[in-house]
């Protein structure tokens, strides 16, 4: 910060500016220190989605909910696959196989449901 030069800044305004900046820094530092006390949701950490608050059902129900979140998002399977490096060739093979299997199962499910419906219509 150059003194003397520049567009007519006095000594008083310089010290005021530095005081303001120090005040702002102090406030931001206090805010940071206090934010560590707050809960997870305010931080927006990547574990927010895997956090389950215990409400009326009790901790067992919350634990079950957490497990359901983990299974529907295939977290365990993904972690297991990530343990060892999967070369791009094998990854492509696996993805192709999985996609085909998923489509095949969907088709079979649709056909079976249709047959059940037709049965109920009396065909």
């Amino acid at each position: 910060m150059s003194t003397g030069d520049g567009g007519g800044r006095s000594f008083v305004s310089d010290s005021l500016d530095s005081m303001m900046s120090r005040r702002l820094a102090e406030e931001s530092r206090k805010q940071f220190a206090s934010s560590l006390d707050k809960g997870l949701s305010s931080t927006g950490a990547p574990i927010v989605g895997r956090s389950v608050a215990v409400v009326s059902g009790g901790p067992a129900k919350a634990y079950a909910r957490l497990n359901r979140i983990m299974t529907t998002n295939n977290v365990r399977r993904e972690l297991y696959l990530r343990q060892r490096y999967e070369k791009p060739k094998y990854k492509r093979q696996r993805l192709r196989f999985e996609s085909h299997a998923r489509r095949f199962k969907d088709e079979v499910r649709n056909k079976v449901h249709l047959v059940m419906k037709m049965k109920s219509w009396g065909v």
Partner: protein
Amino acid sequence: AKAEVASKRQQALMDLLGSGDSPLRGDAFGFRGAGLYGNTISEHKRSAATNPMNKLVLHVHASSNNTILSLTDANGRVIVNSSGGSVGFKKAQRAGFEAAYQATASIVNTVIEKNISVPRIELRLKGFGAGRDASFKAITGLTNWNVCRIVDTTPIPFNGCRPKKARRL
């Protein structure tokens, strides 16, 4: 005289732990003085609402070889530690359900002995070992603590580091 002083200190620590005030001074970085930009903690006692000892966190690291438990305050500063090995199990048995259950039980016992009040407790589970289920069952079965939140903290990379090569090559 030394023994007296030591026992006095012990007594003071027990009182402190029991009073609900955190035994850990300073802000989250252990900083207690006046920094360049002012104090990060006020001179007055922390208000009841923001006291980090209001919510304790039990970190459960349940790996495939062992279970490590840490009871900390809300800021993450450790109060008690325990693990499968610390309760007397050796090698492969540390990974089991029983080891994790006993490790959690040892933490519970320490808390009761030291008269630490547990208003709320949060469970942070890391990993998918046997200790994951065991610690939850122990906490809900052995105590009447108010479990306020259950979080999964397993580190999931969003395509981060390259893992080790596949086995059998």
